[in-house]
Point group: C2
Chain length 200, copies 2
Amino acid sequence: MSVRGSLLAILDQGPCYGYQLRAEFDRRTGSVWPLNVGQIYNTLDRLEREGLVAKGEIDEAGHVYWEITDAGRAAAHEWLTEPLERPQGGRDELAVKIALAATLPGADVAAVIHAERLAGLARLESLAEAKNPRASHDHREEFARALVVDAMISRAEAELRWLDRTDERLAVHRHHTVALGLSKARPKRGRPARLDTSAA
Amino acid sequence: MSVRGSLLAILDQGPCYGYQLRAEFDRRTGSVWPLNVGQIYNTLDRLEREGLVAKGEIDEAGHVYWEITDAGRAAAHEWLTEPLERPQGGRDELAVKIALAATLPGADVAAVIHAERLAGLARLESLAEAKNPRASHDHREEFARALVVDAMISRAEAELRWLDRTDERLAVHRHHTVALGLSKARPKRGRPARLDTSAA
DNA sequence: ACAGCCATGTAACTTGTTACATGATTTT
DNA sequence: AAAATCATGTAACAAGTTACATGGCTGT
């Protein structure tokens, strides 16, 4: 919902045309996440379908301006006011992967963790570089960039710490079995059925 | 890709039928993210289209078993081996929202941050509760649950810290202007055009 | 003249997600 | 007999993402 919400919030400041919206999004997020222009037009169409924005005038230069509707204003306000809904299946990709790996008899969890750890460190490094102020930027855009990069660093560090903790935990519990074969305790009542590469 | 990858990784252990796959996924992730069964069948169909899995035998009880193909095995291996690709537009929803709010002349950033902070604390609290071992579980499933819950706590804490830092930073820089009106510096060459609810 | 940015759009696709329909079998 | 669980599926949607087509204008 971040593109959706962002466009609404920006349009709440006044009519904009598509290409301009991208520029606004970029400015306001420190140009950290380049946004494909096509997506702007897609999203505008979808927002129009929902009655949250409307096609407005076209100026002499041919720019197609979009305006926010009352419903759109309400939606923008809600997006800002209400805390982000973490969708039901807000799965943490990394956690899923490591948890899976830890329970697969065949897999080398330590190697998986190590690979992710390296990638995390690399990411951190490039983020540290991205932190250095850019040259030609507006100082407000620079500020936005700092916020955003800081968030990414924060998250990356948290992931690394978690990976380390998990690695240790696994090392400690290594002598216990963590691996899970395909469950033999099948549902209630089909006759048992087949297979089992299990190693429990 | 976490459902996709998980199914492949599980099927790599041996053939399973749909309903069973959900049980396996749940067990291996501590039942933290309940997975709609329908999605299993959807995903299996999609994986079949890609040639990564194939419909296998049906046992006496009527269970439709799925098998992994060689290509599927390769994909599963890659999913585990290669660090997760953070997609291009790997936008951090929270960071986008706060950055946007911070640059909108009209918005009350502090309030937005405060709301997210409260939500974050609430989440942390419910996670702390979710950390308590469940009764009837297998101890390995309990372990998986611990890993996953820990990851979520770790992330939630990181977000809270970032929110606090950001709040402070904004307070310090409050006297400087952070708000960004719609850019007057329009692209190169259309005649200026219209509007401006800007407040810079 | 040619490269490159400005600008608008379209089509297709991916992953995830829900809601619903259907029926068999257990459990109460 | 009713409620719950097992089990398989379908249809539709949401949000994001890319690749491509098209044209005008601008600076070199």
